[in-house]
Every structure is written in structure tokens, then in C-alpha cells.
Symmetry: C2
Subunit: 357 residues, 2 copies
């Protein structure tokens, strides 16, 4: 019985100066919390480890989400609100209902939740979604059928809108967002070019995920390789990286290119240093002369899209048109190291921590 | 009779190294050209002097316009094609038909044309539009009812789309684009804040054009003044300037702000130097975190909008809802100095050269 169990939690112990380390976390074990009216007790099965979590470790973002859905608004506030030092580290989870005071959820239901880095969590059910995955494993709800997949979907449907024959380049292409972006580009009949770190990841993109080309950002002649992989320039640059990757893609942008700005891992992780003379006016001039659109993308702004996303993506995944790969780390206590690994690009698939599955 | 007249033309004599001077031009007088089949002979009444002309002096742009209209495509190619050294300087004109082999145009018709800096021009009629201005003077066809006005209109209707209560900031606010942007913001119920150079221009924006506030970019505390003029931040930043003006507006951009990038006079004119450390990643991060859209704007991409623009703008101008001011320079030979004046922001109204009116 959960009430007799202890609850192990990973707390944020200190804010990272720039790049985080496991020493920024502390593990505690205390009592499983009591379940109130309309609440459920969740047992965490899987944690998702995602690069944006560095932002939450550093503090809250100075803004909030505009969204038409309470569930999405609450989720967004989870992402944007940051993590207070001394509290449980945040993050999306797949959990099982082990006790329920809410008639919408029954004991045994497996749900998409936002319990953070702990074994048990009481949830007020405002952000819970019961998983209905058909034959697809529930872990996909943290990847292609979760926030990362929906991020890719929203960016492609609302900003990028590639046409057949166009070239779509995505950075961090083997990440859970990037891999969906590239596969959606292929579904749209576009040329999909992925940027990833290392030859192994590039082979995987080309051989297993069907990208037309993949370019290793660690190569010494990375920019030339990217240009060679894009003989007709770039019509969509889906930005997850920033830094040197941005500067390689930027001069290849075609007229009327669309640039969803989805992530800047290079900046978050502190591996990118802003050096050299300011090039902002050069960027604005290219936007002007080439009539390029660059737009920040935050999935929680697009709650309206969720039903369409879940339906279409589940179909694609079930049909094998969208593939995914998972890297699994065992044990809650290994979550801090897993986050460091994600930020340094060490994982190949979507990184999950198996807590109790 | 025109055939007995001589044709005075202003040629581009050399490309400017950075900032242009009258010495880059040369005046010649030769025969009025012969009119071929389906062509007309135009007598130039008015020349428009516009900042983008520095681009044409420097050479052709590396791209072409996507447009559904032949007339617009030809016009766009005029803008983008650049000017060959030794040929007539390009530019929009208002002209009178003085000889016609085309049954669509009669002698005496006043037309919007693209004759460039010369007294007479033979025109194949592919870009001509007969002016039907009601009670509005024909010179407005080079300003609020011409390419500058349509640029503002397209940017506001397609990218900026301000709502009532939002704050719209426009740089080069007294220019023929910026002044329409601010007045359209007011029509939409938004707060209009203009940036201009000098106290006189600012007073004119506030007192005559109905801007809610105007900020002098030459003030020592310009950035603080802009912030004070935008107590609820900036929802639309209509960029005509670049450089220091961009950097003052950038930190004020709200979530979901729209940034039509329409011009970068500071960059074209060489008055802006890119100094300091590269801030491109900082810009991309704000786009991301604040879900801002920045998009290059080129009026000729939006030919479809022309009938709607002409109808709505003519109504606004006739009703006095959109006002404009013109600065007139007399004589074709003064066009080079006039262009230098536009690039240094010396004019207050739309700068026109009266050639034969």
C-alpha cells in the first residue's frame, strides 16, 4: 500500500551557475502525501528528461502562457514557473493512479502527468490526461505523443508548413522534437536534413528515421557539409540548437524561409560563447531582403491543436510513419546525471528514467 | 512637341563605396527616344526619392519577387534589379502620357510609372497604372497611395495586425511608410509611438499626425524615453531603422510581439556600425521565450492586396484619417542631393522632385 511506503524525491538544492551538475540536486525520503478531495495519488512510472529543464533550474521565466485550455495553462505554468530551491525538481511523467478521490480517474489508470522527480505525487487532476495509446507503448506519451511530439507538430503545422520539394533542416535532429520534425518533413514530401552530433547519430537519422541527409555538427567542415546537403538552400530551419549550428544554417536560408525558434541548447548549456562582432543587423537584413519569418515556438500556446495532434500522430506512429527511439536510465536517483547527459547531447534516443515500471 | 525636345537624364556614374554622394551621378542630355508598338511616351512630372535606392546604386539584389501579378513582378524587378553603372537611375514617378501607341492609355492621362530619373521615358505599359485619385493630389500616388503607403498597409494587415489597446512602435516614423503605420495603428485603436530624428519631427508626429507619443532618437537618453513612452511594452515594432533604434526597442518587446522588418536605413546609410559582442543569440532567445515573430516585408510580394489597399487608403486619405506631408525639391538635377538628404533623414515629409509639374 502506498501509504505505508516512503516517497523518495529529488530536490533542486542550488541553482547552477551556468552548466548544471548532479551536485545541484539532493535526494530525500519522506512520507507519501495524503490525498485530498477530488485528488488522486500517482505512482511515477517514467520520468522524461528534457533540455529545457535547465531553465527551470535557473529560475522562473519572466512571462506566462496564453492558452485557451486550463490543462495546458497549468502545464505551461509548470514549464515556465521554474523550480524553487529546496523543492521537488519538475518534469513530465507517466504515472499510474494508485488511489483516487476523483471520479474521472480510476485506480490502475495510466496517465500523462507532471509529477516531477519523485516516486509518488498527489495530483489535483487539472493537468492529467488518461493515456489511450492503442498498441503504442505508454512511454511514447513522453516523446512523440507527448510535449516534444506536439512541439514538433505545432511548429510544422503553424509556422514551418513545408511544401513538397522544399528543404527542411532541423538541429538536434535526433532529439524527441527534431526526429519528429524530420519525419513530418518527409511525410510532407520535403527533403529532410538533420543536424546531430557524431557519426553514429547521423547514420541512425539516415538509415532508421528516413532523413534524406544528416550532417555531423562536430565535423571540422560542418558548415560546408551542411551546404552540400542542401543544394537548393533551406526553406525551413527548425532551430533547436543555436550557436555555431545557427551560423551554418543562416547563410543557406532561402527567400520566404520559415524559422521556428524552438530551442537554443547551445545557449542553455553554456557550450556556446557569443564571440566576435555583433551580427544582429546582418540577420535582420537577411530577414528583410529574403522575407524570412523567424518565430518563437512554445507548445503550450497551441492547446487547440492537441486533439488533432493526438489523433494524427497516433495514426502515424501506429503505421510506422513516425518512428522513435528511447534511451532508458534505471532509477530515480540517476535522473540528475541523465539531465547532464541530455544537455551534452550524449543520448541517442529520447531519454527516460524508469522509476517504477 | 516632345520629339523635338531633348531628354535630360541622371545616370549612375559609379557605385558608392558606402554612403552615396552626388558625385556618383552624371547628367546627360540626348534625344527623346522613339515610341514603338503598344508603347507610350511619358513626360515625367514627379520623382519619388526613397531610401532603398541606395541598394540599387550598390547593385542588384540576389533574389527576385514572388508575385501573382505581372505588373507587380515587373515593378519588383525594377526595385530589386539594381542599376547598371552608366544607365539611368531608377525610381517611381508620376508622369503624363504625351504620345500613345497603346489603346489603354490616352494622351493626357496621368499615370503611376517607373520611369526613373529622366524627363521623358518610353514605356511598354506593363507597369503603368492610370491614376484615379478623386480629390487627392496625384503626388500622393508616390506616397500614401503608392508603394510606401502600400508597404505600411501590407505590413500592418499581414504581419502586425494590431489590436485595440496594443502598443505599436514605428521607427523612421515620419517617413512615408512610418507615418502611415502610426496612423493605421490609431485607426485600429492601438497606441502609436513614433521614433524620429529631432524635436521638430516629433512635435509634428504628435500634433499633426495624431501619434500618442514621439521619441527623438537623437536624445542622449533615447532608450529611456522610448521605454517611458511604452508603459505596457511593445506589441508591434515596425522596423525601418535598425542600429541603435532596434536596440532601444528590442528589450521592450512583449510576448507575442510582431516585428515587420521593412527597412534598415541605419545599415544602408552606413551610419550604424556593428560594434560590441555578438548579440544574435540574445535576440533568438527573446524570440523563443517571448514567442515573438520577426518577418521581412517586401511590398511586391503582396500584389493581391493592391485593390483593397487603393480603395481603403483612398477613403482614409479623403476623410482626413490618414494625413501626409510632402517636401518638394525643384528640378531633376537636384535629385542626387535629395537622395543624400533622405538617407541622412533631413527631410520631414515625403521627398519629391518636381521635374515638370
Amino acid at each position: 500500500m502506498p501509504h505505508e511506503e516512503k516517497n523518495t524525491r529529488v530536490l533542486l538544492d542550488s541553482r547552477p551557475p551556468s552548466f548544471p551538475s548532479p551536485a545541484n540536486f539532493r535526494i530525500v525520503t519522506d512520507a507519501v502525501p495524503k490525498v485530498g478531495r477530488d485528488e488522486v495519488l500517482l505512482k511515477t512510472l517514467w520520468l522524461s528528461i528534457e533540455p529545457y529543464m535547465i531553465l527551470g533550474m535557473k529560475g522562473s521565466a519572466p512571462h506566462s502562457a496564453k492558452t485557451g485550455s486550463d490543462r495546458m495553462a497549468n502545464l505551461a505554468n509548470g514549464y515556465l514557473g521554474g523550480v524553487e530551491v529546496g523543492t521537488t525538481m519538475y518534469g513530465p511523467t507517466v504515472s499510474r493512479v494508485v488511489q483516487s478521490n476523483n471520479r474521472k480517474f480510476a485506480v490502475g489508470d495510466v496517465v500523462s502527468s507532471y509529477s516531477g522527480w519523485q516516486e509518488y505525487a498527489v495530483d489535483d487532476c487539472t493537468t492529467l490526461r488518461k493515456l489511450e495509446m492503442g498498441t503504442v507503448p505508454v512511454t511514447a506519451a513522453l516523446g512523440v505523443l507527448g510535449i516534444p511530439g506536439m512541439t514538433a507538430y505545432a511548429g510544422m503545422k503553424l509556422i514551418a508548413r513545408p511544401s513538397a520539394g522544399e528543404t527542411v533542416v532541423v538541429s538536434a535532429a535526433l532529439g524527441p522534437v527534431g526526429s519528429v520534425v524530420g519525419q513530418m518533413a518527409r511525410i510532407a514530401g520535403a527533403r529532410a536534413v538533420g543536424i546531430a552530433s557524431g557519426a553514429e547519430k547521423c547514420r541512425y537519422l539516415e538509415n532508421s528515421l528516413g532523413f534524406d541527409a544528416a550532417v555531423d555538427r562536430l565535423s571540422t567542415n560542418f558548415a560546408q557539409q551542411l551546404a552540400a546537403a542542401c543544394p537548393r538552400g533551406i526553406d525551413v530551419y527548425f532551430e533547436n540548437a543555436g550557436g555555431a549550428v545557427w551560423w551554418a544554417a543562416f547563410p543557406l536560408l532561402n527567400e520566404f524561409a520559415r524559422v521556428p525558434v524552438c530551442g537554443l541548447v547551445a545557449k542553455y548549456s553554456g557550450t556556446h560563447l557569443d564571440t566576435g562582432t555583433d551580427r544582429t543587423m546582418e540577420v535582420l537584413e537577411r530577414l528583410l531582403l529574403f522575407r524570412i519569418k523567424a518565430q518563437g515556438l512554445f507548445v503550450f500556446d497551441h492547446a487547440d491543436l492537441e486533439p488533432q495532434f493526438l489523433q494524427e500522430m497516433l495514426t502515424w506512429v501506429s503505421q510506422g510513419k513516425i518512428k522513435y527511439r528511447e534511451d532508458i536510465v534505471d532509477g530515480l536517483s540517476n535522473a540528475p546525471q541523465a539531465l547532464v547527459a541530455v544537455l551534452t547531447g550524449k543520448n541517442v534516443g529520447k531519454l527516460l528514467v524508469r522509476v517504477a515500471a
